[in-house]
Symmetry: C2
Subunit: 204 residues, 2 copies
């Protein structure tokens, strides 16, 4: 049971940096990207409104970290779905992994639209360490596995990331904007889209 606020007796927070990012994620998720402000975050975190400057150069840098954290959440969701697959046939397993990764990506867009939005805004100014796990990296691992199992050609392996990412990212974006109908309709459409990814990769 961890609390974001420091207890009022202690002067030092100890984990302010992490707390601010976590609070940022919550704020964006429930009130949208533009509601992110240093002041708000400070209040929520129980800290003076200038404390954040000990950890972030400015608002832009904080946003970039929240963006990165969102991608990491997405990456973890993809990995969790992949880990849950029960399949012994290695070829079917490789296909199922790509499918589940893509479906998790779409689900993230649909269920957490504001996080999806900030995750894929590029903040130029700050140089961050690459996120871990990275959705892009996971997709590439899936394609590597498909290639190793001879399910896709070398050329498809090369173009695959672009094709799969465009399609899944596009649909996830449309779903996050509620352009794809009800939740039920969106789930049906997601199946069509994922099948279409496999067809594009010449797997089916």
């Amino acid at each position: 049971m961890s609390t974001l606020k420091k207890s009022p007796t202690e002067f030092h927070h100890g984990e302010l940096r992490e707390s601010l990012i976590t609070a940022g994620i919550k704020q964006v998720e429930s009130h949208g990207l533009n509601s992110l402000s240093l002041r708000q975050l400070s209040i929520v975190t129980g800290v003076s409104q200038t404390a954040a400057y000990r950890h972030f150069e400015d608002l832009e840098h904080l946003k970039a970290e929240v963006s990165k954290a969102s991608r990491e959440i997405l990456g973890k969701m993809m990995l969790a779905r992949i880990a849950r697959i029960d399949e012994s046939d290695p070829r079917k397993l490789a296909i199922a992994r790509l499918w589940e990764a893509g479906d998790a990506y779409i689900e993230f867009g649909m269920r957490r639209p504001n996080l999806f939005e900030i995750a894929f805004i590029s903040y130029d100014s700050p140089k961050l360490k690459p996120e871990d796990p990275s959705p892009w990296g996971i997709l590439n691992s899936c394609l590597d596995e498909l290639y190793e199992k001879k399910l896709i050609s070398a050329e498809t392996r090369k173009d695959g990331p672009l094709i799969a990412w465009s399609m899944v990212h596009g649909f996830a974006g449309l779903a996050s904007q509620r352009f794809t109908g009800t939740v039920r309709e969106t789930k049906l459409s997601a199946e069509i889209v994922l099948n279409s990814v496999l067809r594009s990769l010449k797997i089916r």
Copy 2:
């Protein structure tokens, strides 16, 4: 040579509504979605800062109109590219139309990223007339034509919009965020993506 500003002698502007939307488009295109404000637009348009309220309920409604106008610009670009096609074989023509429409969409994302962004944000509050021309409508016309020419099946006609739109919209979004490398690389990738759309529609 039309000017956005009214001449200082005249009290009535005459076309303030249109001028504000046009100024909004320019503002978003060059300084991003968040730079849009009623005050800024009023200054640019040469009008007092409250004049806009005679034409728009509030900022949100103005944004929705700018968003709609962006989609119309995109629609016009798609139609312009379609009109420029020189091809007599009706089946090849139908395919070329889909291709050019998709390519125009991607080009819009790449070249006018800020307009692309505002075009596909959904503003719930205001009910607007649907845009004309609408990118979605154009895509559907292309698919209708492919179906009439027996180039796609009835089932593909049904799923086609989703598949084509996801893929093209996804890639355009990635391109607009500069996730697809240089302009040259992006153009090469666009070809791969559009070919992949055709494959998904079982045309090639």
